[in-house]
């Protein structure tokens, strides 16, 4: 990481930084302050950071929406919402310091994805600056909106490659009255028939952890029905995460176990969190890719590419080239 582009606080400044990068033919790495993005290897590139773009712009509690600038820490946002008895269930996937923009840009499955849906489902409007330097808005502040193409969904999980996210409007919901983790020795597939839409189900080598949210009496009845006992939340490995079709998760987990990796699997979601050395993770990557999935390394010390090799499709390429014609936004993203 060499020079940064300085403190950017407006979309116009982001645009200027991008235009500079285009003029100088110097691609930049995008950072937002402390998200998953910051755990990828940067190489020796200038950094375009939106960490200075912070703050809640508008919290419309009665509309269940919030508009927030991209560099705002998720913890700060959660606090503002919790004070009004609301939440946006896209908490960080591990580690503090995550920002809203980084969360949307990386869109990794959060612990509650099973019950709350994907990150992209909570995004209503996005403002971003494309790699071509256009300042754009897509979506709107209403909870339903099919006006124009759904660029919100396109930008979610774009990992800083298509544009720099500057502001988002998120959908909210009331905080659940009750929320508690439970555990059981029963295998997860036994639970499917017993539990109605749990918020999370995470299997580790020792047991299955379940998060129940909602009415306390319902949680008590569900726990009794499935013989769940109150427990601490599981600790998730943080070195890497594999993602496969949820139907193929069990097979992947078995292979990771054989490889001697520490694992925790998000049942029904298809993500397996992993700790282990580089060679074992290489093998896990092969195992995930063999199943049509991918593995992401989140420890830059490991000397492994963050992403594996996914053959880029012609549509991917065209979309990238049209929004970032001079390839100035982390063009190396998928290859390192």
């Amino acid at each position: 990481m060499t020079a940064t582009t300085g403190e950017l606080t407006t979309a116009e400044q982001v645009r200027e930084a991008i235009m500079d990068a285009r003029r100088d033919v110097t691609p930049v790495e995008i950072r937002s302050g402390g998200s998953v993005l910051d755990r990828l290897p940067t190489g020796d590139h200038p950094v375009l950071s939106v960490a200075g773009m912070t703050g809640v712009v508008a919290h419309a509690a009665e509309d269940l929406t919030v508009t927030v600038r991209a560099g705002t820490p998720l913890t700060e946002l959660s606090q503002v919402l919790a004070d009004a008895g609301q939440e946006c269930p896209i908490e960080p996937t591990g580690g503090a310091g995550s920002t809203v923009g980084g969360r949307i840009a990386t869109a990794l499955a959060g612990p509650r994805q099973l019950g709350a849906g994907r990150v992209r489902d909570w995004l209503l409007r996005i403002r971003f600056v494309t790699g071509a330097g256009q300042i754009a808005t897509a979506g709107g502040v209403t909870v339903k909106d099919v006006t124009g193409y759904d660029l919100c969904r396109l930008m979610t999980g774009s990992w800083g490659t298509l544009g720099v996210i500057t502001e988002v409007t998120l959908k909210l919901r009331p905080l659940a009255r009750h929320r508690a983790w439970y555990a059981t020795d029963r295998p997860r597939h036994d639970l499917d028939a017993l539990l109605y839409r749990p918020s999370a189900s995470i299997t580790t080598r020792e047991r299955t952890h379940v998060l129940l949210e909602g009415h306390p009496d319902d949680a008590a009845e569900q726990a009794a029905l499935a013989a769940l006992v109150p427990a601490d939340p599981p600790t998730l490995p943080v070195t890497a995460r594999a993602s496969v079709d949820p139907a193929r998760l069990v097979g992947l987990v078995e292979e990771c176990e054989t490889l001697g990796l520490v694992w925790a699997a998000q049942d029904g979601v298809g993500v397996c969190h992993l700790d282990g050395d580089g060679d074992r993770l290489d093998a896990a990557r092969t195992a995930a890719e063999k199943r049509g999935g991918a593995l992401l390394v989140l420890d830059p010390h490991l000397q492994r590419p963050a992403f594996g090799s996914r053959g880029s499709s012609p549509i991917d390429e065209r979309v990238r080239r049209t929004l970032d014609p001079d390839a100035v936004l982390a063009p190396w993203r998928w290859t390192r």
């Binding site: 269940l64 300042i135 193409y149 759904d150 990992w159 298509l162 995460r241 993602s243 079709d245 065209r318």
Partner: protein, 511 residues
Amino acid sequence: MTTTEGARRRPWARRAAAKAGPLPWLEAGSGLTDRERALLTAVHGLVGDDGLRAGELGRATYRRDASFLNADPLGVALPWTVEQTAAVVRACRDHGVPFTPRAAGTGLAGGATPTGEGGVRPLVVSVARMDRLRELDVTNRRAWVEPGLVNARLGRAAAVHGLRFAPDPASQIAATLGGNVSTNAGGIHVLTYGVMSQHVLAVELMDADGVVHLLDGTAPELAGIDLRGVSVGGEGTLGIVTGACLRLLPAPPSVGTMLAGFPSLRQAAAMVGDLVTSDRLPDAVELMDARAVGLVEGYANAGYPIDAAAVLLIEFEGLPHAVAAGIDTAEALAQANGATSVTRAQDAAERARIWKGRKAVAGAIAKRAPDFFLQDVVVPRSRLGEMLDAVVAIGERERLEILNVVHAGDGNLHPFVLFDRREQGVLDRVFAAGHDIVTTALDLDGTVTGEHGVGIEKRDFLSQVFSEDDLAVQRAVREAIEPSGLANPDKVLPSTVGCLEARMVPEGAWV
């Protein structure tokens, strides 16, 4: 993402047997250009007599969707398989003729209306015959479907296994899943379950070369950008959806339904605000005004309070204690907002009766007026009261009967403007009312369509919603995904060239 060239075949599909019979529509004097004749001949060779409608009568039923917007297609191809579809699309490409994807044609924005730029008539490509449920994966709670499968059929197949498909547009007994994917359809239970996009796990999208792209597989995280979401709601302009993997959910163990009458629209709207900010979000909140209630009661006898200015249908689903607490809260809030009547469904039969009224709206309207123009706008929920008042005022000003049926929990209004097309000059007033409803929603920080889509009807409003730069980015993405420009041209984005070929006038109207 993986790419396969038209991968599947349907064993019992009727093979394209080009029969030697006379083809009157191909003969000289039919007014076809050489290019049009060449394309129709090629398509006929691919799908046979049974798969091509190109005569006047055959074309007539494909002039429009459920909107008034109509235009004359070059012909209609009805392929049975993905391979046939690919071949038809390639023929269009080879002859430089655009195509309009179509499913059940229940769309309300003119998306399936076959317009072309500069007088070119597109070929309608119907996916209606590709209607199989390819795989129902009960264990993993998902289904692979073909695009022509009707929404309600998936619902019935899932119900057998205690599962449900959440998106439930009011048109679900006719509309297809391919159409639902392509319009990002909504429905009654959007408030907590979300729109179609939230239930689409993967999409198979055929480009103008007939190549099918799998966007983007069913793994949750990818090493690359995610094109699944942007392909939903493409309204046929990004290619043809030839398959989709959809998420199923377990059927709720408990359901609580309530009907409440209010003395004014404003009180009903205030109740919606209170509900949405209470500690348990309902799964459905529908509002009907007195006109809608009066009409429906005369038709369906659902037991709605006809003296109320507005009624709310409120439903909670889930585990029993949460449902009971939700209904209790809703009842208390209804009383606090001056409700004149509150009915809690005691059993499934009573619940069905309450919903019967809401579901009978379209049928009741058909009895009342020969024509209706259905609008679709959204406002932030806190502006619902203002918007409802504005709709009433617009109806009075234009001397039109307008019924309000509202997905109130989402702030999504569906004003039905009733009229008789034979009345001279009425259309001007209908369109003026529609236009004012949309601009009022925009003034209230709302938007021009919540679930029916842009199609042709709303596309010129997009310049009022988005900046030039916003639209340039949208256009660039569309061209990147569908570079040929042959897939449903003329739709969604404001046209930069040429004039609209569609007629905004119902056939048989007095103009």
